[in-house]
Symmetry: C2
DNA sequence: ATCACTTATTGACTTTGGTCAAGAACTATT
DNA sequence: AATAGTTCTTGACCAAAGTCAATAAGTGAT
């Protein structure tokens, strides 16, 4: 548990009493490859911190699969919209590799927000952080071509993308697998 | 000032002492049409609440103008990314009509976060709220055609879009004015 | 090593939106 | 009302990505 505390320290350093309460609400889970930690139609009543492994966040309507996000080691994983609004998720979250996560439940997090100002602040910092990720991703669609998005993605994440099939990367970039194949060839 | 308090009450009800401190940090400003409240290259050291009027959030590189967002009455307006990261803004924010806003300075907001737990919470709620807006906008690019984006936009905002020229709406939707003109014709 | 299965590439063709240019419609000012 | 300046529409053509189908390459299991 101390290893995960170091990760949270990057957001905010909790004192021992705050951390003790926080720790009580965290549940460690080992996730098998291809296991789904959230299904379409469920409410995302948790947010989880990834200690090891990676996840895909995808939408599946009548066999048409679209990958909206990848989550890697060190990221928070959830359907944050569903988490915030209480509405049911339109996406699945599925482990792409064996994974270790620390889950915290929505209700418990809310009472931690009430109890500790610093955890309330942690909640703000997480929200701001997630805002920045999604704003960056939106920008990549507003201002970049698929080829530029691909270039940026591999520059930032080449190692993590190593064992992700190309058709999933294509979906994440918003193009068809054939198109990504052609993008890769032409440079 | 009491009218604006009602708006903030929708996020969180501040008690009189919290509100008194909050109010001290708020600066009312009257903005002329076409006035820029943030310029490219500046750091967005404020966040503002719109009491009246509307703004466009746009990027201008060598005459190529792209509208990334509109902000209306009741919205918070800023370059939130620049606000959070401290980096300079790559966008302008410009009033499309005469406007009345309440600005709060970044440093002052930070000390309010330190002083009042409820304002810290307000900060979280604002961040969560802005997350949801940008996530919805990203979804509109991931899952919708330009025609669907247009339909959704006018359904949600028809009144507010009344006096915005079509070429700006096209830019917001990520298409050229000619294309929007054709979309409108074909239905 | 072989076979089955999944993933990636390639080619031919279609669809959608972009580009460029001309003209029509609208607005504001005198 | 006339003019100038925007904004919007339309047409002809172009470019980029999608679709469909065939084949190649890669992966795992026996």
């Amino acid at each position: 548990m101390e290893t995960i505390r170091l990760y949270f320290d990057k957001f905010i350093k909790l004192n021992d009493s705050e951390w003790a309460d926080f720790e009580k609400c965290i549940v460690k889970a080992n996730i098998a490859k291809n296991e789904q930690i959230l299904k379409q139609g469920e409410h995302a009543n948790f947010i989880a911190f990834i200690q090891e492994g990676s996840f895909r966040f995808f939408y599946d309507k009548e066999g048409e699969v679209k990958i909206t996000a990848f989550f890697f080691k060190g990221d928070f994983v959830s359907n944050y919209r569903s988490f915030l609004t209480g509405k049911s998720s339109d996406h699945f979250i599925e482990a792409m590799q064996e994974a270790v996560i620390y889950k915290i439940n929505l209700q418990e997090l809310k009472s931690l927000y009430d109890k500790h100002k610093n955890i309330e602040r942690l909640g703000r910092l997480i929200a701001e952080n997630l805002y920045l990720s999604v704003a960056n991703r939106l920008d990549s669609f507003l201002f970049q071509t698929p080829a530029e998005r691909y270039k940026g993605l591999i520059e930032r994440n080449s190692r993590l993308l190593q064992d992700i099939p190309q058709y999933m990367i294509a979906s994440y970039l918003g193009v068809k697998p054939e198109t990504l194949s052609r993008i890769r060839k032409r440079k």
